[in-house]
Amino acid sequence: MQRYVVGRLLLMLPTLLGVAVLTFVIMRMVPGDIVELRYASGGAGVSQELIDQERALLGLDKPMYAQFVDWMGGIVRLDFGQSLWTGRSVLDEIAVRLELSIELAVLATLLAIALAVPLGVLAAIKQDTWVDYAIRIFSIGGLAMPSFWIGILIVLVLLTVFYWSPPLTFTPFLEDPLANLSQLIWPALAVGYRYAAVAMRMTRSSVLEVMREDYIRTARAKGAGERLVVVRHALRNSLLPVVTVISLEFAFLVGGLVVTEQVFNLNGIGKLLVDAVAHRDYTLIQALVLLLAFVFVFVNFLVDMLYVVLDPRIRYT
């Protein structure tokens, strides 16, 4: 097991390196030169001297491979460079916004699981009744409606029905849980809905499949109550595919966060990324894209490890 974990971690390295290379290459696809582009968008005439100076400052006068080595060398020392826009260190820019985004992601995931598992099980045991249909329609809606639109609708309802809008400034959870949740619960709902919808569908079909197994019949035959059969025998064994889907959907969660932060005007990682693109802040974009891909790869790894906990039959060797 230990060897497997170490092996998996080592296998992640080439992928992560590939991710870094690809990020670097995409950023170099920019037509023309970053410096020229930034000054040109400013509109004013700029001397060649200044452009050269700026280029040297950013290390853009060096050959491509040297730039990559510089960048990677920096990353190893946790130095992602300076934001081209604010001049502050990229790491600082990310650090101040990380808490909000992480909390939002966790909140959305928890909400999704809290919604998906009970509703999915309910739909499965009430298969082909109106309860099942209602739950399925609810989940189809989550797949079709973009999370940012649900966010807009939430804001609209809060405004027109309750004459209230969520606070705009972030309060850390430990400082004032209520103020914190009153701001973040809404975007978490908007993002979590899609997440819940997918997980719900998976829970439903997975429970349906397990319910047909022989050991369920055995459990019933020995006189176990229906509740016990569902909760202890069926649910536990149907969680594995649900976990898989939750990890696969994590990519969508990140996407949903990026867009939804914009709707609720939350100053998180997603908004930082969008602003960075708008400001042509390439060092920042590079770092953020890399960070998000790393997180994604790592979450997938964690989920693989979670399988072992959930299913004792799985043993990695």
Partner: protein, 299 residues
Amino acid sequence: MSDAEDLARRRFAEDTRSRRWAGAVGTFIRQRPVGAAGAVLIVLMILAAVFADLIAPYDPEQGEFLDLLLPPSAEHLVGTDPFGRDVFSRLLYGSRTALTVGFVSSLVGSTLGLILGVAGAYFGGKIDQIIQRLMDVLISFPLIVIAIAVVAALGPGTTNVIAAVTVPVIPRVARVVRASALSIVAMPYIEATRSVGSGALRIMFSHIAPNVFAPYLIMLTAFLGQAILLEASLSFLGLGVVEPTASWGLMLRGAGMQFLERAPWLAIAPGVAISMAVFGFNLFGDSLRDALDPRLRTA
């Protein structure tokens, strides 16, 4: 064989072919009414996009300066936006943008995925390894993040959005296609074709590709809805289609958010359009998947 006989035979072949198609469509409608409902939504959208010039009561890009933010009425079915443009007309033209981006990017992305998947399965060894690792890397980026990165490099605009939406489709299709192609490559008839001297390209495209067409088609339809959603998201972020082109995501971006209380129709209508489109493609895609290959059933 006389010419007449030949002609008759060819006609017969054509006849049965078209009848088989009609039969397949009929069966699909009868057995999968939900999928057929999705198909109807899609057809309606295609009609709206194709005939937007004829249906749209107003110019989607030209506003009337006296008619700002009018609520829905008989003249303006879904009201007007802050530039005095008719929202209904913009919705119709928006379906053009959505469908163009959706179809082109999922078609191009799936086809590139098909080529890479088949090539990997056929050649195996080093080439397969290289393709696989490359796909692993591409798949490590969350959909929208790689799309944003591409837009950041290329700049916004419809063509660049298509490129941005295409990239994340490729690795996902390549994986599925490769898995199916692997079992085809092992078949004796591939060996036989090789032994009569067919070249690699011929084997890949006339013998393997047609046999992995089902997963290809399934992935393609599955990504249509995703692509439309992605375009809307990018445009909403201001990283997609640029004004004055009508795009549903873009319509939600500026005015939809700004005049939320005063003109809620601006925020509601485009969202309904996006949802209906994605809904239609999802319904159709799911049914198509069930009809073509029940083993590929996922969440």
